[in-house]
């Protein structure tokens, strides 16, 4: 038996309302590069967080070189020789590059920081990546790609037997990824075990030896040689055939009708560049892209939360200058169902009645600012029925509902406000499969009733199921548009090709 550098057996982890990991196992041998794959929300990041001590698992054991280890904190993981490059940027922006790299273990002389050693150690790590950044450069001065490379350099600082790379290449280009893979190859030769998380399958097939696939928190494929599977097989396993082949209703959109929402060559203060798109009544337009592609920011620009610097935004054919969410709603009838349900979507401590009627209180006003309770309840009742929101009474607090029902409440308030254009951002994150299905039916029904829907999602299977057309965004620009055939294989290929397409040069 080979002794595994890291072996996780039967790991489970629940968060309130979600089972993030369900009996997951993973084996990393010394000198291998192991791919950890899965759709967004499949549990990859949770697993990484457990392996690095940022979360503790509910059940299961983790062994390092055959010895069961208790990784209860990030420092314990570091001491055990586990290095990590996190997906999110975890840098101290007020510090220098050098200090950020060595922060997990500051070189010191007594209580004092040994600045000479900080610089030399940082230079050593940067040199491994062939990077010529002065360690004294302030972190805040770096570009986002440079920041990501520094994040990688941090993972190389301590002597690691196990290196976890959580989507290290998500925000860097091919040239920079090559720097990373050169180091990976070297560490592999030196006998390190490397776990590589990525959405870029080209990279996975080029550099990885073994693979584990997670779906809905379960390990579907467990530590198998990658060479035994084709790329299409892997995609099928990741997405799950059952969901990809959901029955899709036949829908027809009148393409000759004038668009209700149109963006022409829009640049924004958030950094969008030459964005054009159009949306018709009764249509579900999908806006796909990876995290950080600028999709939510585009929604914010449409709602007036970011300024449009050049280009035009038209609603119902006439140029609109939207200055606030209030104006977007009342004048242009645009609603936005947020991706942050708990923070921005519902008032957790308020009743269902208040949560839904909040957008229409001015219409329900009797006199002197008093709201007609009777009308309010009747209105809310009709949406509770239409959307099939499962509540015990209207007085129930939104915080007591399940995630799916909260999402419906969040949606209902925009319907109550008689919106004509609805931007729906990541509607089914953290929602179980069955509720997802009922949500899809709801979105189709709304579109059939004449609503124009802009759907933002990072879930490709969801996009292929729901959208009539898919627009792909990358790095704050539109990289292409495809008509949706609802055939997962052809669509996923087409969309993924667009994500990595070179941006048009204007």
């Amino acid at each position: 038996m080979t002794e595994f550098a890291l072996e996780a057996v039967g790991v489970s982890k629940s968060f309130p309302g979600v089972k993030a990991l369900d009996n997951v196992s993973l084996r990393l041998a010394p000198g291998e590069v192991h791919a950890l794959l899965g759709e967004n929300g499949a549990g990859k990041s949770t697993l990484i967080k457990i392996l690095t001590g940022a979360h503790t698992s509910d059940t299961g054991t983790i062994s390092l070189s055959g010895v069961v280890s208790d990784i209860s904190s990030p420092s314990a993981a570091m001491a055990a020789g586990i290095g990590v490059v996190h997906q999110e940027r975890n840098v101290i922006r007020g510090f220098t590059v050098g200090e950020n790299i060595v922060m997990s273990r500051m070189p010191r002389r007594g209580p004092r920081v040994d600045w000479t050693a900080v610089r030399s150690e940082a230079r050593r790590c940067l040199a491994m990546l062939d990077l010529d950044i002065d360690p004294d450069t302030p972190m805040a001065a770096l570009s986002s790609a440079q920041t990501q490379l520094v994040e990688i350099a941090r993972g190389l600082y301590t002597e690691t037997k196990v290196l976890l790379l959580d989507e290290p290449t998500a925000s860097i280009s091919g040239n920079e990824s090559d720097r990373l893979f050169r180091v990976v190859a070297r560490l592999k030769q030196e006998g390190a075990a490397i776990l590589f998380v990525s959405h870029k399958l080209e990279e996975v097939f080029a550099h990885c030896d073994t693979v584990t696939v997670l779906r809905d928190g379960k390990s579907i494929l467990q530590s198998e040689p990658l060479s035994a599977h084709s790329r299409d097989e892997i995609v099928d396993i990741m997405v799950g055939r059952s969901l990809a082949s959901l029955e899709v209703p036949t829908r027809s959109v009148d393409r000759s009708a004038p668009p209700v929402l149109e963006l022409e060559h829009v640049n924004t203060t958030a950094g969008h560049h030459d964005v054009s798109l159009d949306l018709r009544a009764g249509e579900v337009l999908g806006l796909y892209g990876l995290v950080g592609a600028g999709r939510t920011e585009l929604a914010r620009a449409i709602l007036g939360l970011e300024r449009i610097t050049t280009g035009t935004l038209s609603v119902h054919g006439s140029t609109a200058s939207i200055k606030s969410v209030r104006q977007a709603l009342q004048k242009y009838r645009i609603g936005y169902v947020t991706e942050n349900r708990k923070e921005e979507g519902v008032f957790l401590e308020q009743s269902i009645t208040r949560n839904i009627a909040v957008t229409v209180w001015s219409n329900l006003e009797k006199a002197f600012g008093f709201v007609s309770g009777k009308k309010e309840r009747a209105l809310v009742d009709s949406y509770v029925r239409d959307l099939d929101i499962r509540i015990s009474s209207q007085d129930q607090l939104a915080g007591q509902l399940s995630g799916g029902n909260q999402q419906k409440v969040s949606l209902a308030k925009w319907l109550a406000a008689q919106t004509q254009i609805l931007i729906i951002d990541e509607p089914t994150v953290g929602i179980d499969v069955r509720t997802k299905r009922s949500f899809y039916d709801l979105i189709w029904k709304l579109a059939d009733d004449g609503l124009a829907i802009l759907l933002i999602s990072s879930d490709l299977a969801e996009m292929v199921t729901l959208a009539d057309r898919i627009v792909v965004m990358d790095r704050f620009a539109i990289t292409g548009e495809v008509d949706n055939t609802h055939d997962y294989d052809t669509m996923s290929q087409a969309v993924i090709r667009l994500i990595h397409a070179e941006l048009p040069v204007s």
Partner: protein, 346 residues
């Protein structure tokens, strides 16, 4: 060196230094040179020590993303407790000094521990301890004013000067230098800043944010203790009013001095200079015999103005970042060297 000079020019320090010079000249001229008399200079610096110390005490909590509303009542209680012990119980002066420092550090430690243990917002915790300690301060001194004749050695130290500069002011500067060294050159100090800048990232680097919060509050309390000791040395006596007017200046100094309220930064020189500006406003009030309320009005307005200016700068920076992103695809992609302001590209 060049970089440091540049950083100085860009920070609020240069502005503050210019304001101080102008203020000193103005006060010197209007007082007919009386402001530069040895007595006047000595008084100015003697009563600058406490504003510097309470400004630094607040700065330390702000640096980890906390705040300390109890600054004045920690100092007031420590001064009164030591005063009562020396006057009524005959405790020697040396021990009295130890009492002020220990009371300050312990009160601060309790603040930090309460924040960490209960997870209650630091605002509420220190609001409560502020009220409790000022109640305790009143309980031990009631309506009395305990005369400084009870701690003659300490009072003598308050009058002592080196080259015309009061010893207590030198003490405050020494504390400032120590605080600066701690934050800039010790591992512990860097950890506090890391926690304040990005607690999530700090935790993933193996830093205990709880520890940072407790250490910061304890250090803040210790500095209040030092301020209490200087109050004993400088004032003719102590009563319930000691510390009562510390809260606003304690926030004013770091905020005007350039410390971000969101945590993660310190500005020792800035805080010291800002405390000096506040002290100048106070001197001007005495010089022109204005109502004390006028000082509060000016300081309040300056604090508001500084914060508004900082917010405007933030908005401008985020706009610039967006503009840089919009330009990026036109050139060679998001990693073009042109996007890094320092030109430190790979």
């Amino acid at each position: 060196m060049k970089r440091q000079a540049l950083a100085f020019a860009r920070s609020q320090n240069l502005t503050l230094a210019v304001i101080i010079v102008l203020g000193v000249v103005l006060l010197g001229v209007t007082s007919g040179g009386g402001f530069f008399s040895p007595v006047s200079v000595r008084t100015f610096f003697q009563f600058l020590a406490v504003p510097i110390l309470i400004g630094l005490a607040q700065m330390i909590t702000v640096a980890v993303g906390q705040l300390n509303l109890a600054i004045g009542s920690i100092g007031g209680f420590a001064a009164c407790l030591a005063g009562v012990m020396m006057a009524d119980l005959g405790v020697p002066a040396v021990l009295g000094v130890v009492v002020t420092l220990v009371v300050g550090a312990v009160a601060g430690f309790i603040n930090g521990w309460l924040v960490v243990a209960t997870r209650i917002n630091g605002f509420i915790v220190t609001l409560a301890t502020m009220t409790i300690l000022s109640g305790a301060q009143y309980a031990i001194v009631s309506t009395r004013t305990i005369s400084s004749t009870n701690w003659a050695p300490i009072a003598d130290l308050g009058k002592a000067t080196v080259g015309g500069i009061p010893v207590v002011f030198i003490l405050a500067i020494v504390v400032a230098v120590l605080v600066s060294l701690a934050f800039n050159h010790t591992v512990g100090g860097r950890r506090l800043l890391a926690s304040g800048d990005n607690s999530h990232a700090a935790a993933l680097s193996g830093i205990s944010n709880d520890r940072s919060v407790i250490i910061a509050h304890a250090a803040s309390g210790l500095l209040c203790g030092v301020a209490a000791f200087i109050s004993l040395a400088s004032l003719s006596g102590v009563n319930t009013s000691v510390g009562g007017d510390w809260l606003l200046p304690s926030f004013a100094a770091p905020i005007i001095g350039g410390v971000a309220l969101t945590g993660g930064t310190v500005a020792i020189l800035g805080t010291t200079l800002a405390a000096t500006v506040v002290r100048l406003v106070d001197s001007a009030r005495a010089e022109f015999q204005l109502a004390p309320a006028w000082v509060n009005f000016v300081i309040g307005a300056v604090v508001l103005g500084t914060v508004a200016l900082g917010r405007a700068r933030e908005v401008r920076d985020s706009r610039r970042a967006g503009a840089a992103r919009a330009k990026a695809p036109q050139t060679t992609g998001p990693t073009s060297p042109g996007q890094a302001p320092t030109g430190a590209a790979s």
